[in-house]
């Protein structure tokens, strides 16, 4: 059976709409697919369509055909007549009095307004020794995963929908498809093949998932849909561009008294994850520093652009960039070393933040000390020649969102009304099954955790092997098929290591516990004395005393001293597989299960208090060194020194890989990336030629280090790294550039042209570190 291919009709597509295409805000007045349907008779095409297009590139119709060329030909036969409306391209235009509404349900185009206030701001500012207010602007960033969004769908004869999709969140896709098609979750099989990166852009059900399924039903054949690179930009779901007005008050010693944040988030034409984004932009600021008084006003605003969504660091990198810059400006103004001012305000372990988040383990101070030492900060800061700069930034993130995006239990969504939110998880967020092969030589690990290139399959196999007491080479993982593997919520909010790590290790321990009585019988001891490690069972004491017990495995940690009672002829070890075979002989399949629910009662009781809750928080610091060509403004990011508190790493190499990737990605985001729009809302650079990401030739030398840390709520002491590693980067780069040039660039990206213009304006904010006495440049 041939695969059918699909193309979108979009405003930049080949369809002419009487000279009225390519404008951002249109109601689709008329869409005539009859010609295409007539063509369908001999071209073998099928269409599906809809009737609104609030941004350029928003699809209005889908065509399936026998091949892609035929689909393109059919597209040209579709007549679309658009009623053109004036585009709203930034949140200030969109919230202005009298602006047209993009969606009727959002007055003044405000999609979400967050208002959170903790403490007495007026009093705290009045008591501050120094108050500084600055405005910062972010940029439109797109994830640009190497692999485009893609879906293949077909329907089984029994009515089961099968959907292959390039996604980070197979379960949410399954749930959303059930919701849209009003069919039971159990009738939907989602398969996530190897995914070529997501970074948040694949954290939701994509139109391809739904259209492929609809067209597959209409045609009775498998349908494949793939975005082109340009269509990916038009689909969007990249970072929100944030317009930030920050006010920070400190005492004489640089200790934070109060912080006020007002942010307008440019949301694009749809909600996507934007409500959560708007909350995250505020909630994660007080996790890093002790901020006794805090106010946050966030407005997520609809505009006629592709929807912004969740991207690595979800909502936080731009406010974190702005906050780090502001804190450094204040440090320079007070003559306090920027690393020292961070130490004076740094988060302590076991603290409840001002916005009611429970920080457990925290080695933020250790990361600051380590980057200062390793980078040679004291010898460099303030002592570099003009054009050379060094800067510091810090950041941290949740290790998994405390609560699920949807409420209630797993069910057909229209079965009953949405449940009220409660501060506990109804069902486990991560679930694993381990089955041991009948000869005991292999463990099959099943969990729906989404491997998207970040290495989650690797670390989950490690966790499972550790719990079972066998080498990783004996564990195989199946994480790709919802028919095989139980629910895991997916790869977002940096949750997999902590949550899925718990589920798989618990499943492993479940297996080990079932084997212990058999091992004990063979070893001639009590089951509680038995330890599994290196594919053997043994009595804890006989190896090398209590220290032989693996601290991370935990099983057998309470071994008694009674091993002396073992019969003399009993073996000192037995092969792991032999114990498994004995179990199978008596009981049939050797299977263990494990699951993880986040702790109950996380967070405060105010509106939005749950966004930012997490079992654990990561912390990190980075020092960046740059050289700036003062004649062209071009920045060379030369060196990065990064230390992270990610708890106890399961796989240090994977951690360093995340850090290195985050530095290259975020440094590029700081100095070169920007999706640009024209006055009609058309993207000017929807390709990897015009949208510049950092290439390997631009990448800095990177030192990634870890500080010692143990998180009691994490599996084997681990916390997250994937998203938190992006957060220190932007501020560190911005500070290093300011340090090299004597000018702060407060709107991203910090392009050579902006640097040159700022140098020419010659009203730089003083930066202590920069030796810019000779600033009579140009």
């Amino acid at each position: 059976m041939p695969l059918l291919c699909q193309q979108w009709e979009t405003t930049v597509g080949p369809v002419t709409a009487r000279g009225r295409k390519n404008t951002a805000h249109r109601a689709v007045a008329h869409l005539d697919t009859t010609t295409a349907h007539r063509a369908a008779a001999h071209l073998d095409t099928t269409t599906a369509h809809r009737a609104a297009a609030p941004h350029v590139g928003d699809p209005v119709a889908a065509v399936a055909a026998i091949d892609e060329r035929t689909a393109e030909a059919a597209l040209k036969l579709i007549e679309v007549e658009y009623e053109e409306l004036p585009p709203l391209l930034d949140p200030f235009e969109a919230t202005a009095e009298g602006a047209p509404l993009i969606h009727d349900q959002y007055p003044r185009n405000i999609n979400t307004h967050v208002e959170q206030c903790f403490g007495d701001l007026d009093k705290a500012f009045a008591e501050s020794h120094l108050v500084r207010e600055e405005t910062f602007t972010g940029n439109h960033i797109y994830q640009c995963p190497l692999e485009p969004h893609a879906a293949i769908s077909y329907w089984e004869h029994d009515g089961t929908l099968v959907l292959y999709t390039s996604t980070q969140v197979p379960h949410y896709v399954q749930y959303m498809v059930a919701h849209v098609f009003h069919m039971p979750l159990g009738k939907i099989r989602v398969i996530r093949p190897a995914v070529g990166g997501g970074f948040g852009g694949k954290a939701a059900t994509c139109p391809l998932d739904l259209c492929a399924a609809i067209l597959a039903r209409k045609t009775g054949r498998p349908v494949k849909m793939v975005y082109s690179r340009e269509e990916m930009f038009h689909y969007g779901r990249g970072r929100h561009k944030q317009h930030m007005r920050f006010k920070l008050g400190v005492d004489r010693d640089g200790r934070i008294k109060a912080f006020k944040s007002e942010i307008y988030l440019d949301g694009g034409a749809y909600s996507s994850f934007g409500v959560a984004t708007a909350y995250y932009a505020g909630s994660m600021i007080p996790t890093l520093y002790n901020i006794p008084n805090y106010r946050y006003d966030g407005y997520r605003v609809m505009t006629n652009k592709p929807a912004a969504g969740a991207m690595r660091g979800h909502g936080v990198p731009q406010p974190r960039f702005a906050f780090e810059c502001l804190l450094t400006m204040i440090a320079d103004e007070l003559g306090i070393d920027p690393i020292e001012i961070r130490r004076r305000n740094s988060m302590r372990p076991n603290t409840r933040t001002v916005n009611d988040l429970d920080v457990g383990s925290c080695e933020f101070d250790a990361t600051l000390e380590a980057v200062a030492k390793k980078s040679g900060w004291a010898e460099k800061y303030g002592k570099l020649p003009r054009g050379k700069g060094i800067g510091v930034g810090a950041g941290g993130f949740v290790s998994g969102a405390g609560y699920c995006i949807y409420r209630g239990q797993v069910q057909l969504s229209h079965e009953k009304p949405r449940e009220h939110f409660q501060k506990r998880s109804i069902f486990p967020h991560a679930n694993a099954v381990v089955r041991i092969s009948e000869d005991g030589m292999a463990a099959i690990l099943m969990i729906g955790a989404a491997e998207i290139g970040q290495g989650s399959d690797t670390i989950l196999v490690q966790c499972c092997a550790e719990a079972l007491g066998i080498p990783v080479s004996r564990v195989r993982i199946h994480s790709q098929d919802s028919d095989i593997s139980p629910l895991d919520l997916g790869a977002y909010s940096s949750r997999v290591t902590l949550m899925a790590g718990h589920a798989v290790s618990r499943a492993g321990w479940d297996v080990a516990d079932k084997m212990k009585p058999y091992a004990a019988k063979m070893l001639g001891c009590d089951a509680s004395q038995v330890v599994a490690r290196d594919a053997k069972f043994f009595v804890a004491k006989t190896e090398s005393g209590a220290t032989a017990v693996s601290a991370v495995v935990g099983a057998g940690a309470h071994c008694s001293q009674s091993s002396g009672t073992r019969p003399n002829h009993a073996p000192s070890t037995v092969a792991w597989e032999e114990v498994a075979r004995q179990y199978f002989n008596d009981n049939g399949p050797l299977v263990g299960t494990g699951c993880y629910k986040p702790p109950e009662g996380l967070g405060g009781d105010f509106k939005g208090a749950t966004v930012g809750t997490s079992p654990a928080y990561s912390f990190g610091s980075a020092v960046c060194e740059v050289s700036v060509d003062l004649e062209t403004g071009k920045v060379r990011v030369e060196r990065f020194t990064d230390f992270h508190d990610c708890g106890t790493p399961i796989n240090p190499r994977a951690v360093h890989g995340q850090v290195e990737g985050a530095i290259v990605m975020s440094a590029g985001e700081t100095i070169m990336e920007d999706v640009q729009f024209d006055e009609k809302g058309r993207i000017l650079n929807p390709n990897l030629h015009g949208y510049a990401m950092m290439s390997i030739k631009d990448a800095p030398q990177i030192f990634s280090g870890l500080v010692e840390s143990y998180e009691p709520r994490g599996p084997f002491g681990a916390k997250e790294i994937g998203e938190g590693s992006t957060l220190p980067v932007l501020g560190a780069v911005a500070h290093a550039i300011a340090n090299a040039t004597g000018v702060w660039i407060k709107d991203l990206p910090i392009t050579p042209e902006k640097i040159l213009n700022a140098l020419r304006e010659k009203s730089p904010t003083p930066v202590r570190g920069a030796a810019y006495a000779a600033s009579s440049s140009r």
């Binding site: 062209t632 071009k634 030629h689 290439s695 390997i696 030739k697 631009d698």
Partner: protein, 299 residues
């Protein structure tokens, strides 16, 4: 994105290509490396019914030193189908025409350099192309073959507009000639791009100069890329430089002349004002590097 229906003709000789061009006229395009043309066809920036491929014409490949004769002082002859990577790696180029490597070294990506040809880079006449400015200041010319006879055109007169050249119907660009670089002559190419790998030039400047016995400039050329509809020759540069000693004052005057010649546009990579600014900086830098090479060649 598909290449629309086109007929591909694989040629074994220039004569065969010429015959096809004559037969199909304006409905045919020559295909060399294809790194520009195939992309343009896919994105419907251009259309053609026939692609006349030169890839199998072995005679169009290769780099050779032609010795001096009565009519010239010798030159380097580069076949039009020679790839940028082949030029960049060629020992003759590296030792005797090093300034050319300023442009070949950082152009596009490894993959593009392995496919893109020097003939294609010139014949496409894209304003931001990297090879034209440096070839112009090296005094290069192109050999244009046609069934009716061949002619040689100086590169400084070759570009007529964006994507428009002096190639006439039925003509094939078969080779590039670069005159022998004499002692006391130096050239350099200075480009600015927003990143170091795989980025097209925001602005670029090539400069060459010759030094006389007293150390003063006897001959000078400056050419610009990405800041005008065509690779632009700065006519007034010679006036600003000849007779002067290489140095900031002379270079500054030439930089002002270059800025006057430039007619940049604003786009996603930078504003016109910024490009004009870059032209001055890059002109000074290219002249500085050229002067250094000229001086070194005398010692």
């Amino acid at each position: 994105m598909y290449i629309p229906n086109v007929e591909l003709h694989e040629c074994e000789s220039v004569e065969q290509a010429g015959a096809l061009l004559t037969r199909y006229g304006s409905s045919a395009r020559l295909l060399a490396g294809g790194t520009d043309l195939l992309v343009d066809l896919k994105t419907a920036r251009t259309a053609t019914a026939h692609l006349v491929s030169l890839k199998r014409v072995a005679a169009l490949r290769g780099i050779k030193l032609e010795t001096a004769s009565q009519s010239n002082n010798g030159y380097l002859r580069i076949g039009a189908l020679t790839t940028v990577a082949e030029i960049d790696a060629n020992p003759l180029v590296r030792t005797q025409y090093a300034p050319l490597c300023d442009a070949t070294r950082d152009m596009a990506t490894v993959q593009v350099r392995n496919l893109a040809t020097i003939g294609g880079n010139l014949a496409s006449a894209v304003p931001c192309a990297d090879l034209p400015p440096i070839l112009i200041v090296l005094g290069a010319s192109v050999e244009l073959w046609s069934a009716g006879g061949s002619r040689t055109v100086g590169l400084d007169r070759f570009f007529l507009g964006p994507r428009k050249t002096d190639i006439r119907p039925g003509e094939v660009l078969i080779a590039i000639r670069i005159p022998t670089i004499p002692p006391g002559f130096g050239a350099a190419y200075s480009r600015f791009a927003l990143r170091n790998g795989n980025a097209i030039a925001v602005a670029s400047v090539a400069a060459s100069l010759a030094l006389g016995n007293g150390g003063s400039i006897t001959q000078a050329r400056v050419a610009l890329g990405a800041v005008a509809p065509t690779p632009a020759v700065v006519d007034r540069a010679a006036g600003a430089l000849i007779g002067k000693t290489p140095g900031e004052d002379a270079f500054h005057a030439a930089a002002l002349a270059a800025q006057t010649t430039s007619a940049p546009i604003s786009d996603v990579r930078g504003s016109a004002e910024y490009r004009r600014e870059l032209v001055a900086v890059l002109t000074r830098r290219a002249l500085g590097a050229a002067a250094q090479r000229a001086t070194e060649s005398l010692t």
